[in-house]
Structures are given as structure tokens and as C-alpha cells.
Amino acid sequence: MELRADRVTKRYGSKIAVDGITLNLSKGVHGLLGANGAGKTTLMRMLCGILHPTTGDISLGSMDVSTEEYRSVLGYLPQDFGYFPDFTGMDFLLYMGALKGLPKSYAKKRGRELAELVFLKDEMAKKIKTYSGGMRQRLGIAQAFLNEPEILILDEPTAGLDPKERVRFRNMIEEYGKEHIVLLSTHIVSDIEHIADDVLMIKNGKLIFQGIWNEEKGDLEQFYLKQFEEGAANE
């Protein structure tokens, strides 16, 4: 199954946040690079069914993005998210599990597994308000994996993670991407340099590059900066 976005545009009055983007994402890790305000988050929200495109369609196989069926196979980590203040880490995962339609016993078992994977096993009984920023981010990553989603969409997932945690996270994503569709957005090239099978670059709402990246092609960061310079020259 492929995640398809066909000429998707999002317009707010005279402002075009996403401009005619077409994507076909199959199994693997897809890295979405772009500066702040490029349209990454808007595109991701449309791929999650949170925002309706002004024009264009998004679907996964025969499932339209606006259906419950699609959302049941989706895992999403927003760029910025909060929490209910009384919740412990486990309460949060059980709550998200309930919203994803998971039976409580399964959500508990899965929550424990994921807590171990993100190194929060000893913190799950503590209230989230006592967590550091990195711990909250890891909890957010854990909830995205709860329902073993077919599509995993992560918006700037490494924000707040220390270098060791970022390496662990990359390994986790790389492994998961072998059998699932993973789209991860960042403006930090090193986050995806070694794990992305496919790199997408977005600027001013437009897709300016999409292609497979490997080490033989050279340094991704230099290539990324060059795309933006070339784009500026053409303008």
C-alpha cells in the first residue's frame, strides 16, 4: 500500500501554505526537509487528516485520509503537544490507547514494551509534569507507536533529545521503516542522513526535490543548502 497525495494545496486566504504537492510514499523512511515556515507541518497535518486540503486528494490504498479506518492505522507525533496535568506516563499511554481503539489490556502491555524501548520504564508511574522535555518527547514517540501503525508521521521528533537519545531514535525508526511507511520531518539534516531511503525537500510550500539519497551522492547537508541557493537564484 502507498500513501498518495495528489496535487495537494492548502490555502489560507491569499497565503498558500502548501502548493500542489504530489507524493507517493511506500514502505521505508522518508525524510522531509525544509526551513521553518516551509510548509512541513501543514503538509503533515493534511496527511494525518487533521487539516482538509483546499484542493487535491490524499489516500492510503483505497482509504481516504478523512476516514476512521485510515486514522486507525496512523501514528502521529505533532511538533508541539501537551498533556493532562494529572496524568502519569502510563495514564497517558492508556488514554491514547483508548482513543486509538485498543483494548486496555493490550494497550497496557504495549505501553510497557514501548516504555522500555524509549527508556522510560522507571518513570511511567510518575506524573508527566515532573518529566524533562526530552522525557516528554520520548513519551510522545512511544504513543505514536502504540497501535503499530502502517503509517508513522513524526513532526520534528528529535527536538529536545540529547545526542545519545537521537541515535537510539534513529535506530528505532530505521528498523520500523523496513516494514512500514515512515515520514519524518526535520530541519536537521543529520536526523535523516543515514536512515532515510527517500528525501523530500520543501520550500515555500512547494516540493523542490524528491529522490533517493545515498552516501555515494555526497553530503546531504551541502546538497540541501545548494537546493535552496539554486531556488533563490531562479527566483
Partner: protein, 188 residues
């Protein structure tokens, strides 16, 4: 969605029962003063509909909840339905538990329901207008305002009780607009 019952704060049920118990005790002998006291207490019951409805927005959980299997709209409906249903039961039990009535059953309950609906109406409008934690703080002021307003004007110039159908109409309208807003968050 019945699981949402477990995520409604226990204080919502406890305080609602507390207000019910106080109303039953006061309502043993309803007189002119007691009616307005009960009328002034009703907005505090309505506060819990506002806090439960505004919880996701106030705690910035909306975006996470949007992307799950059950839509945010059905989630909010489940929460509001549970609290409103509980309050409906409270009002029904109150009619049965009151010892006497000052005017008639319907009229006395009406004097208690109008401030309740006014609180829900104003709170709904504020929840639509304010985002983030601000919405929670602003909503806390609504029952206080309506309670004082109902308490003062109820006896001297009961204008709000004359506009009962208008208040119900605007309450329904505000909450339809509130639920429409859950279909797509305001960008930035």
C-alpha cells in the same frame, strides 16, 4: 467511547453530587429566598461541562486527539454527553426530592435551569473565542458572573428568566459552532 467516563475528573462527579445534596437540603422548604439561592448555585454545576469540553484545548492535547481513530468531535460529545446526562439526572432527582414548591414544579425547576443554560451558552462562546490555557481561566469566571447576576436580578428584575427560549436557542447555536470548530483547528 464509554471509556471516556474514566477520564472525566472525579471532582466533576463529587462536586455535582455535593451541589445536588445542598439543593435537596435547601429545597426541603422552598420559599422565595431559597429559589434564588438554588438559581445562583446552578451555574457552578454547568462549570463542569465547560471544563470537560475545554480540557483538550487548554492542555494542548487537541492535535494528538485529532489524529486518533475516534474523531475529536465524538470524543467531546462523549464527555459532554456524560456530564450533561449526569446533570439531567440530578435535575430530575431534584424535582422528586423537593419537599414543597414555591410556585409549581416546572416553574421552580425553570428558575434553576435558566442560569445553568446561560452559563453553558456564555462558556461555549468563550471556549470558541479563546484558545489554550486562557480558555480554562476565562471559563472559570462565567459561573461566578452568572451566579451573581442571577442572584441580584432574579428577585429585583428577573430579565433573564423572561428570555428563557432565547437562551436555550443561543446555547444550542454556540455548541453547534463549537463542534464545527473541532473539525479543523485554526491555523497558527
Amino acid at each position: 467511547m464509554w471509556q471516556q467516563l474514566w477520564y472525566i475528573k472525579k471532582i466533576t462527579w463529587l462536586v455535582s453530587l455535593g451541589i445536588f445534596a445542598a439543593a435537596v437540603w435547601l429545597g426541603r422548604t422552598l420559599d422565595k429566598e431559597t429559589i434564588w439561592i438554588l438559581s445562583a448555585m446552578a451555574p457552578y454545576l454547568a462549570l463542569f461541562i465547560l471544563t470537560e469540553s475545554g480540557k483538550s484545548r487548554g492542555c494542548r492535547m487537541e492535535e494528538l486527539e485529532y489524529a486518533t481513530r475516534f474523531s475529536l468531535k465524538s470524543l467531546l460529545l462523549a464527555r459532554m454527553g456524560a456530564v450533561a446526562g449526569f446533570h439531567g439526572m440530578i435535575f430530575l432527582l431534584l424535582t422528586a426530592c423537593m419537599g414543597t414548591y414555591f410556585h409549581s414544579v416546572m416553574e421552580d425547576i425553570f428558575y434553576i435551569l435558566v442560569p445553568y443554560f446561560l452559563t453553558v451558552c456564555l462558556g461555549g462562546w468563550l471556549l470558541r473565542t479563546y484558545r489554550g490555557k486562557e480558555s480554562t481561566y476565562v471559563c472559570l469566571g462565567v459561573p461566578v458572573f452568572v451566579s451573581i447576576f442571577a442572584g441580584i436580578t432574579g428577585q429585583t428584575f428577573p430579565i433573564i428568566y423572561g428570555a428563557d427560549m432565547l437562551i436555550v436557542f443561543f446555547t444550542i447555536k454556540e455548541w453547534i459552532l463549537f463542534f464545527r470548530q473541532t473539525e479543523e483547528p485554526v491555523w497558527n
